[in-house]
């Protein structure tokens, strides 16, 4: 499989990245080289192989649903780029 300039523009949009024309061209070339290398995996027949998502033999880790302390609001807001009344301020979502 190969990736073209149009694919790169689509993927950049999905990833919320603005790319310059130079970046688009460079990533098209580089991603093609990486994906071509990844095609190597198709040499292996994996029809009967289970996927590994992670290596530990654990499934869901459950705990009691109890109220417990967490970070206080003042602390959490310390790194906020913009704040108003203890909340994160962002540009209007609806016009």
């Amino acid at each position: 499989m190969s990736i073209n300039l149009h694919d790169v523009e689509h993927v950049a949009k999905l990833a919320r990245l603005l790319l310059t024309d130079e970046e688009k061209e460079r990533y098209t070339d580089q991603l093609n080289a990486i994906l071509k290398y990844a095609d190597k995996l198709n040499e292996l027949n994996t029809d009967d192989v289970q996927p590994t998502t992670h290596v530990l033999p654990i499934r869901n880790v459950m705990r009691e649903d109890e109220v417990r302390p967490s970070l206080d609001r003042e602390h959490v807001m310390k790194n906020a780029p913009e704040e108003e009344d203890g909340q994160f301020r962002v540009p209007a979502v609806l016009e």
């Binding site: 950049a12 919320r16 192989v49 996927p51 530990l56 310390k78 994160f88 962002v90 016009e95």
Partner: protein, 485 residues
């Protein structure tokens, strides 16, 4: 001999006997950093004022004979993707240029409980993506053995700081080799523990199914002491393993007589520098003289590991890094048209080129129509790679090979060829995919540059890995070499 030449056990002994104070030690650390970091450029942020105040406090406690942690009064450096309360943590990214964490990572807290003083935060490839530190948004850390060369990465600052004698030890993180490869390039000891042994709570996530924190030290015994301080179950990380933690320093005792070592033939193939290969063969001879036996073994899926890794790690990264949206922390772009535009601009201005490349690759591999062909396929190949290790460990106690195919390369040499750069991790990535523990220890020099020996163990058998590494170290002189700075 300065305090910075001592091992952790020696420092602890001197501090307890009060022949050395925490203040003197901390002064020595900052004097060494001042003298060498203009060249090495390992530190992104120093914690000098706070560290000196803490050193005073520990000296008082030592005088009063209060109960003290196992590493009380010993300074260390921490990789800048491990969050530290009140101390700037950037992940070497412009995106987090102004980020000051409001709580500690599990390991940062454990180090504090052990009495460790944080000297500062160490440079890395941005968000741990890279193997040279050239992807840092701030500076390129230099290899103390040759300042024209990279220290390796992504924990390059952590490795260079220890090799340059700036701090007695540091913490790094390893996703595909990011502790072991820089340890190898810088001639020090780097341990990647079993996936799940160390809590990832507060480690800024790159690839969650692979990321693991570990120590970078000058000796194997030091590595055991640091591991002891940071291992343990944590309910804040659902992949934290609930296992008994042995006494790692005690596990160093014993011998390797009768130990069965497998040497993966794929790790000694033609892609490996002949001088690196020779250093590893010499090391195997040392193990033989200590009573171990070794023979060749095959890990047949090794050649597929790099491809599988880059698809999996990039996919996980593209998901993990979606949290950097400019809303709650980090650098927000100015004058966005609307909320979506704020995401686009903040991310595009905040991320560097390699990070964008991996987000692109991961987003593509996870996107509709390609998921099965890339992401799922890579997960299946991961199973085959893990099975290679399972089978080898039925017959062998440990696997041994080089940590990296070459010694440290020159700054700028590989920066325009991502695929070539990825190949430096060809011998560490399979181990990460299998989730098993491995250590890199110095095993010789090639043209004036250190070579690392990789010792790989069974899951949660850090004791066997550390013991073999310790006995090798005791039998050789490689770890005593120091770069001239």
């Amino acid at each position: 001999m300065t305090p910075l030449d001592y091992t952790l056990a020696e420092l602890k002994q001197q501090l307890s006997a009060r022949t050395l104070s925490a203040t003197e030690l901390t002064d020595a650390v900052f004097a060494r950093i001042a003298a060498t970091d203009g060249t090495v450029q390992a530190f992104l942020t120093l914690n000098e004022e706070q560290a000196r105040a803490e050193a005073h406090r520990y000296d008082d406690k030592y005088v009063q004979g209060e109960g003290l942690g196992a590493l009380a009064g010993i300074p260390a450096g921490i990789k800048d993707n491990i969050i530290t309360e009140g101390l700037r943590t950037t992940c070497a990214s412009r995106f987090l240029d102004n980020f000051v964490p409001v709580h500690d990572a599990f390991v940062s807290r454990k180090l504090k409980e052990a009495g460790v003083i944080t000297a500062g935060k160490l440079n890395m490839d941005e968000f741990a993506m890279g193997g040279s530190n050239e992807n840092s948004a701030y500076q390129v850390t230099r290899n103390p053995w040759d300042v024209e060369r990279v220290p390796g990465g992504s924990s390059g600052g952590s490795a260079a700081a220890v090799a340059a004698g700036q701090v007695p030890f540091s913490l790094g993180s390893d996703t595909g080799g990011s502790i072991r490869q820089p340890a190898s390039y810088c001639g020090i000891v780097g341990l990647k523990p079993t996936y799940g042994l160390i809590s990832r709570f507060g480690l800024v996530a790159f690839a969650s199914s692979l990321d693991q924190i570990g120590p970078l030290t000058r000796t194997v015994e030091d590595s055991a002491h640091v591991l002891q301080a940071i291992a343990g179950h944590d309910t804040m990380d659902s992949t934290s393993a609930n296992v008994d933690i042995p006494d790692y320093a005690a596990a160093l005792q014993g011998d390797v007589r009768g130990l069965r070592i497998g040497v993966p033939k794929e790790y000694m193939s033609e892609g490996v520098d002949p001088k690196v290969k020779q250093a590893v063969l010499d090391a195997l001879q040392t193990f033989e003289s200590l009573g171990a036996t070794w023979e060749e073994v095959s890990l047949p899926h090794t050649e597929y590991a790099v491809a599988a890794y880059y698809l999996l790690a990039s996919s996980e990264a593209s998901s993990n890094l979606s949290r950097f949206d400019g809303v709650r922390y980090g650098v927000r772009a100015e004058n966005p048209d609307n909320l979506i535009d704020l995401y686009f601009k903040s991310r595009s201005e905040g991320f560097g080129s390699e990070v964008k490349r991996r987000i692109m690759l991961g987003t593509y591999a996870l996107s509709s129509g390609y998921y099965d062909a890339y992401y799922l396929k890579a997960q299946k190949v991961r199973t085959l790679i893990k099975q290679d290790f399972d089978q080898a460990f039925q017959k062998y106690d440990l696997l041994i090979g080089p940590t990296a195919p070459t010694t440290a390369f020159k700054i700028g040499e590989q920066i325009n060829n991502p695929l070539q750069m990825y190949m430096n991790d060809i011998l560490t990535i399979p181990v990460s995919l299998a989730g098993v523990p491995a250590i890199s220890v110095p095993c010789g020099m090639a043209d004036g540059l250190p070579v690392g020996l990789q010792i790989i163990g069974k899951p949660f058998d850090e004791s066997a890995v550390l013991r073999a590494a310790h006995l090798f170290e005791q039998a050789t002189e490689h770890h005593k070499l120091r770069p001239q700075l």
